[in-house]
């Protein structure tokens, strides 16, 4: 069991690397800090199922009670549809805990890593069983 605990983060790391290959298509992802992950909990204002990238507009209440809107960029519908997403996978009004790689600038934006619904469902940017298309073979 202890070996499994070690292996899992490595596999996760490879998957992230593979994805960065896919995501870097339309533009460089240098603006996102992929060494950092933060979790935002809030309500979806809008889900943009559009090319070249999808966006989750998430309203997040800060500790002071003020609501801040975050722009969370995801892969294209082309990439996500092939791993099982649909245009209604995320809807306005959904409560989500979204994990992102934040913008290095500190502004309210980031790159989508995964989203967790209150019922425990998790949306990732690649199907668990899908081959790592961006990984070297």
């Amino acid at each position: 069991m202890s070996s499994r605990k070690i292996i899992l983060p490595i596999v996760a790391g490879l998957a992230a690397t593979a994805f960065s290959g896919i995501g870097a298509a339309h533009h460089s992802f240098a603006m996102f800090d992929d060494s950092k992950e933060i979790v935002l909990t809030g309500v979806v204002k809008e889900f943009q199922w559009t090319n070249p990238h999808t966006f989750v507009q998430l309203e997040v209440k800060g500790p002071d009670g003020a609501v801040v809107e975050w722009s969370i960029e995801g892969s294209s519908p082309n990439g996500l549809a092939r791993v099982g997403w649909k245009r209604a996978s995320i809807k306005a009004g959904d409560q989500l805990a979204v994990t992102i790689n934040p913008l290095r600038s500190g502004e309210h934006g980031g790159n989508f890593v995964q989203a967790k619904f209150p019922d425990g469902r998790v949306l990732t940017r690649r199907a668990p069983e899908a081959p790592a298309a961006g990984a070297p073979q």
Binding site: I22, A25, S28, M31, P52, G134, P136, Q137
Partner: protein, 256 residues
């Protein structure tokens, strides 16, 4: 036993030869020009890349590649790499929805569709809906063609290998995802062949004599896919990643 079998064998051989002759005859009726000599293999279908989006797909996508740049372009590339390390992409024209250009396009971030018709080998890249028409009808390049993103391509079959030559390529293009630059002069040659029914290889050689000290070469691998379709990709639909006044890729926050 041997006598009767050899007679059957002889009959079968005759039928086989006759069939071949017939097939060749029909082939020459439908084929024309350069393709008449022998039927080329049929690679019509949808294909996806194997490996990373680097020029050499065996190099992981998060690694920068080394290219034999001259001093001027090495200085430019070094600046690009240094900026990238600080989170600033400064040679990222596709962020503004510019087509990737032939060299970077052939990394094939999304699937491609190959359509073979008499006299033409067509590649449709899902990314940016880019189309390459490779003329296999024996024509030559035009004299002094106007430069375009994907250039002017002519191809010829040598047995089961497709040899492609592309000129008239727009200058200052990009080699890979990291913004590695090309010069004003670019010439691309490709050698395509199949390994089995479902694997396609493309050995691509890029010359850019005003930027690269020698040609660079890589082999791309593609797998046949019968489980997916080509989808629409219109970059200007909702592009929130345009470059700013300093040419740095950004993100438009809070749109709409």
């Amino acid at each position: 036993m041997n006598a009767s079998h050899s007679r059957v064998g002889a009959v079968r051989s005759f039928i086989g030869v006759a069939g071949c002759v017939l097939a060749l005859g029909l082939g020459s009726l439908v084929a024309s020009g350069a393709e008449a000599a022998s039927a080329p293999p049929n690679w019509t279908g949808i294909w996806t890349r194997v490996g990373s989006l680097n020029f050499d797909p065996t190099i992981p996508g998060n690694k920068n590649e080394d290219f034999p740049y001259n001093a001027k372009y090495k200085e430019f590339y070094d600046r690009i790499i240094a900026a990238e390390a600080k989170g600033l992409a400064i040679n990222d024209k596709s962020a503004d929805c510019q087509p990737p250009g032939i060299v970077r396009m052939m990394a094939m971030v999304y699937p491609m569709e190959i359509i073979q018709t008499p006299g033409q080998f067509t590649i449709i890249a899902e990314w940016e809906g880019q189309i390459r028409r490779i003329f296999t009808d024996g024509r030559k390049h035009p004299e002094d063609p106007d430069p375009t993103y994907n250039g002017h391509s002519i191809g010829r079959w040598e047995g089961e290998t497709l040899l492609v030559d592309t000129v008239g390529i727009l200058g200052e293009g990009i080699i890979n995802d990291h913004g590695a630059p090309l010069g004003e002069q670019v010439h691309v040659t490709e050698k395509w062949w199949a390994e089995g029914a479902d694997t396609l290889k493309n050995e691509i050689t890029v010359e850019s004599p005003d930027a690269l000290l020698r040609p660079i070469k890589a082999v791309k691998t593609f797998k046949r896919r019968t489980d997916i379709q080509i989808m629409e990709y219109i970059c200007t639909q909702n592009n929130r990643n345009q470059t700013n006044a300093e040419g740095v890729t950004g993100i438009e926050l809070k749109k709409r």
